[in-house]
Amino acid sequence: MVDKEKCTGCHQCELWCGTEIASTSRELARAINEEPHPAPRVYVEGKPFALQCRHCESAPCLDACPNGTMRRDPETGLIYVNEPTCIACWMCVMVCPFGIINPSSSMKVAIKCDRCRNMGYPICAEVCPTGALSLVERKDYRKKKF
């Protein structure tokens, strides 16, 4: 979850997401020079506010996906792209209300944040220098006053 008061727009979440999740080398100095360049799953654009997947309870991307590539992990509730079956129809890209699903032109798959479901803790929250990104339960987040 993002605390918009704390986000300074420093792009660190993008940089380390790109390195840890999207690069093949997983080392910043090498990832920088990888071609095609790694595509981060979190975005800071225009305003200091990190955008990443909300893993909606009623998720339009799940409904829009024609062949079940977009899936929800039954245990954690996290939504992820099953890359081998993606047909690059970009329906999910069009319906996402937050604009966080992006077409990867080089790989022909939709790419989106899966909240580092295989890593235990999201890397963006780990590296955020101001603590703007943090992993909190949705109900706790709602109680906060922003």
Binding site: C10, Q12, L15, T19, L28
Partner: protein
Amino acid sequence: MEFIQKKTADNAAEHFLAKAADRGTKLAWDRFEGQLPECGFCESGLSCRDCLQGPCISHPFRDVNKRGVCGKDKDILAVQTLLKLVLKGTMASLDQVSDFVEGVASGAVKPKDKAEADRIVAGIEALLKEGGAGMKKAFPKDLLAAWEEAGIYPQGVAKDLFKASQKVEGGVAGVEETLFWAFKAALLGAFAQRLQGGLKKAVFGAAPAEIEVNMGILKKDTATILLYGRFSPVLKAKIAAAAAKKKVNVAGVCTDPLLSPYVFAPVTSYGSQELPLMTGAVDLIVTGDQFVHPSVAAIAAEYNTVVVPTETLKGRNPEAFTNEIVEKALNAFQFRSSVARDIPEAKESALMGLSAADLDVKKIAVALNEGKIKGIAILAGTNNVKFTQDLPFVTMAQEFLKDDILCISEGDASVSLAKYGFLNPRQCGKHCGDGVAKLLKAAGSNLPAVLDLGYAENGGVAEFLFALSAAAKKAVKELPVLACFAEANRSAEVAEALGLVAMGVSTFFWPSLPVTGSPKTMEALGKLCGEKFGARLIVHTDKKMEPLAKARMILKVFNRVEDPILKDHPWTDWKTQG
């Protein structure tokens, strides 16, 4: 963010880490952990704060912001980051030498060799204004010719440093041109160091001395002054003279330990500079700017230690100032009698301050030519909190000496090695392989395993290299010499590393410099420098490499074993050349 790694290899320092944790005192290691993860853009040299339209970054993973507002791309951003570091490092050398000249010119000390001192002072004054004509005497002809050809022959501070500093302000200079400005600046720094070394010799004389290092040298029953950082030798001598009269103990941290006839025993090395204050046995510290953590003031306050910045001397009579310092130290000693003095037993003897004149350079040259030793490693630089303090130095010295590579060290690297007995002449046999042991016996009397060539500010390494090159009748770049900044940290070290590369010594540099974001700059530091100077700056990006792996990688170069990491390395060039 957690960072799991042993903090230091020094037992004396480790003792205080536990104490600091108990008391809640935050040290450099704790603050480093708090900084993690460090900004990836800054780490790769892809950020810029040079103007107020920014700050800008070059985003490696996105196309919309590949260039800064003014149009700097990743290559220019990275090479300019390097230039900025070098400029700052060169300024450090120039600042020291100008302070020294001011002290000598004011007549505060009587030079041993007045004529030589006057000559050098005139040379330094010329260097600061415009003409660096003295360069011709300080460096060998072939190097000067190579620098002239590469377009990096420095003309003097006013002509070069001002221009170089403007390369970060704007203009369309490319990677190569900007890099050469960095080399030009680095050479000015190297020249300033040589002049400083000459002046120190002319004013105070120079002789190696066996001194004791590490925190065990602190005393329980005597008032103690610690000199922190590099500042004017004239002021240091005055403080030592005033302290000697009142029987006050004076030691140093990150400061040149030898200033004939005085000795400032190094209490610890750079990385653990906050810890001597935690012994409670320091009554007063005199702090310069270079190589001093601002945090020492807060820790000094915790232990009621008086802090006197050298800046407070400005406009005052140096005699009165130093007497006042000593008085303050004595008062503080009385006042602090309730502070417990916790002094660890650690103490080691070290022979420091050798110079080319104290060594039989001819014998070293012969041993190199005949293959009795495989090469010479220059261990330089201070500590960096990113590595286990001193461990890279110790591991490298151990591995190199075993494999018949002569090790020389300078500055704070010497202090680090001295703590583990590498500079103790009586422990020489313990570390060395046969070839090095025989050479050390022949090349001088009572030499330790690692030869300390004095503090970096005195340019002792360059002097040694030129003497060796003359004796071996080979250019420096043709000698099997490698420099290794195993845990570098300050900008002065970056400037020094570039200076060494320009002189023809391939240099390994850790941690990786903020140029890794630019493939062009990385390539220029390797290939272009190889073509122009016959030496390279080798920047490694692997953060997880163990010290032993690093040492073995360098050993491969000395043993001329082909290795994919070292592809196109000058050593193979060197091998094909001769």
